[in-house]
Symmetry: C2
Subunit: 421 residues, 2 copies
């Protein structure tokens, strides 16, 4: 039997309300295998922590703090936007990673992120073979954009979807109350620059018991101003009001984002973004309706207070599975969610090869968008609905959620050589 | 003993996540006094419903639907923005109200709103005396702006404050994770055009266990760009990031709103509002930090999913007290919350005379804002903290809150005369 080795875990890209839930799954599970995994080190600010040999010793964190990660949004060790490119192009970085892993006796690489980090994870596995230093590289999926292939859903998405569906329902009830003499149109801007998954979730606000007029502007559908304003007018005439969910990625024909207003602000800069104010103003201009608009931005992806229980359970299960797979000797894989049934929602963990995951974006299928381009179909509803099921409330103290801040003590440097990013 | 008379209830102005909770308190309590109150009619779309004789018969709503109002945001009978002016100036309207009340045997007038509606309520009481048709007019306080005098807090405010405090904490954790290589500044725009109560609630996100750098821009404090950007720089240098909560009512010296950008959009209109993007852009321009911004708008006042339990309890208690006061023979009064102790928070219902309430705005006291103008003091914290205490979660079905939509059947018109608004 070989001696236990250390493991490395890092968070990558935009954080979510449940990426720490996966971290919790990884760390709690790793602690169950002391004969295989000695210590689990986390990268401070993601992969940058590995490149700069700035590692965090998670063994110094208490059991209760690690358990608290399960209900703490954001990235507890810090994340980063730093993309490693091809093996040749980013050769120095990959070799540096292996050097740091070697110095710290790291044999397991857990990378928690989206499509880019799946690709990096895959390349770490390749370079380790090439450099003859064995590393088992396992990717833990995470992205609110829900655009990873093979897996039924991506941790982080279900909770954003729940937040957007609830917020759309709540704001719709509000504007409905005000419409007689005041606001008739409410516009909510949501994230999702390339794929309309999050925007689609706004459509869940309406159902058989909540007859709410909702129009969705997807990034997948070229914006047709006439068709849109005609539809808004129809809805306001039928219901007295209308709610609009617009993706930050919605585009004019030709590809320009709606959010690019083409105007300058007081400082002479290109106009500050926001697709919502553009849509709101367009409605005022063409139809004369009074409007309100909101931009949810970080609130949607950080909203741990109303996280989806399904999402939390899957985020934890995927973190746990990543470690279980490492222990089972797997390499260059990603645990995924496989859907067995829609209702009741039954799922199990399976695994995908990273070569099949990297650089594939899962877009909204055509059959999820209604023919008019402004709504979601029943098929889409069947897909989305279980992902927002259940409420996983955090504990509270004095009216505020109790989130954990870790000690994040540094591991003593061994190489102690400078590495310029 | 006199025969039972009917009662009238209406919702006024911007709705909240708990105005229906007060409606629930009014209706459930009125149903307990059948010997005094025969039927409770609600105004469809607020006072307009009375003026146009468009009354809703709440006796046709089931017990369970009325109970469901307790956890349903928005205004279940519709609200309106329609201000009655002085007794002489709006003479026709006041007389019409009395005519409608007389026709429908209405002896109790419950008006649920903010400062303007307290004034209207007061005048209804006066005109009823003058026109020799006795009406007991009781005002039920409601406003997220928290600017009514005498009462410790206004229903609706505590829940908005909780939402803003939680959202600020969650988004701050998020930006903290991203700050090393990406976003360093997060800006959240909140409601409150005249008073900074809601903005102040953002300050609760930081406490002894959550050392979060938060700068608040209050409508009460003239915006000092140099002092502000200097402060942002200090915070980012000390913490790596900074969160900013800006009131929609924040103003430049001279009184112009920050949100008025003084530029034109693609349609040639004055630039669409938003203080948050102005602040974000200013930071980018002067300090070069990457930013994200959000505008919460209706999401904050409709967020029943995370309502404050204190707020819900007070909203219900005030609705109940209004009816109890009417039964006790009171007129031209408003039930209020009287604070007996901060911690534990102990409060009781008392009453205020409408002549003392109408046209008085309660602003943030100077001692609630720190000397630098960007934060809240311990005194402010002691005041705010109990108002966000407790979580009153609505029931859920398939991942979404179950909110009630009433039947809202009309009462048969008796006058049936047209009234032009």
């Amino acid at each position: 039997m070989t001696a236990a080795k250390n493991a490395f875990y890092a968070q990558s890209g935009g954080v979510t309300s449940v990426i720490n839930t996966s971290a919790c799954g990884v760390i709690e599970t790793a602690r169950q295998y002391p004969e295989k995994i000695a210590k689990l080190y986390a990268g401070r600010n993601g992969i940058i922590g590995a490149l700069t040999e700035d590692l965090i010793d998670t063994s110094l964190e208490s059991e209760s703090d690690i358990a608290g990660l399960r209900h703490t949004p954001s990235g507890a060790f810090g994340s980063c936007r730093f993309k490693l490119k091809g093996l040749e192009e980013s050769k120095d970085e990959y070799e540096r990673l292996i050097d740091v892993f070697k110095a710290h006796n790291i044999a397991y690489f857990f990378y928690n992120g989206g499509g880019d980090s799946a690709d990096t994870c895959h390349k770490v596995s390749q370079i380790s073979r090439r450099m003859n230093f064995p590393i088992q590289a396992i990717h833990v999926p995470k992205t609110i954009d829900n655009d990873l292939p093979i897996t039924d859903a991506c941790p982080g998405f279900g909770s954003v979807a729940k937040y957007i569906a609830i917020s759309t329902r709540e704001a719709s009830y509000d504007v409905c109350s005000m419409a007689k003499t005041s606001t008739k149109v409410f516009v909510l801007e949501v994230m999702g620059r390339h794929a309309g998954w999050i925007a689609a979730a706004g459509g869940l606000a309406a159902d058989e018991k909540n007859d709410i007029p909702i129009l969705i502007l997807f990034p997948e559908i070229e914006f047709d101003q006439n068709a849109f304003t005609t539809k808004v007018k129809e809805k306001v005439e039928a219901y007295g009001y209308c709610s609009i969910v617009v993706s930050e990625g919605a585009r004019w024909p030709g590809g320009k984002f709606l959010a690019e207003q083409g105007t300058n602000d007081a400082f002479g800069h290109a106009q500050l973004g926001g697709a919502a104010p553009v849509i709101a103003d367009m409605i005022k201009d063409t139809l004369g309706y009074k409007y309100h608009w909101a931009v949810a931005d970080y609130l949607q992806r950080a909203a741990r207070h109303i996280a989806s229980e399904t999402d939390v359970n899957q985020a934890y299960a995927l973190g746990k599975a990543a470690v279980d797979m490492a222990i089972a000797g797997e390499n260059a894989v990603m645990p995924i969610i496989h859907r067995m049934s829609d209702e009741p929602y039954i799922w199990e963990i399976r695994k995908a090869k990273l070569e099949d995951v990297a650089n594939v974006e899962k877009m909204m299928p055509k059959e999820f968008i209604t023919n008019d381009g402004f709504g979601i179909t029943e098929a889409c509803r069947r897909y989305l609905s279980p992902l927002i099921e259940g409420e996983d409330y955090p504990p509270y103290n004095k009216g505020l959620p109790v989130y954990v801040t870790l000690k994040n003590n540094a591991v003593k440097k061994i190489l102690n050589t400078e590495f310029i990013l």
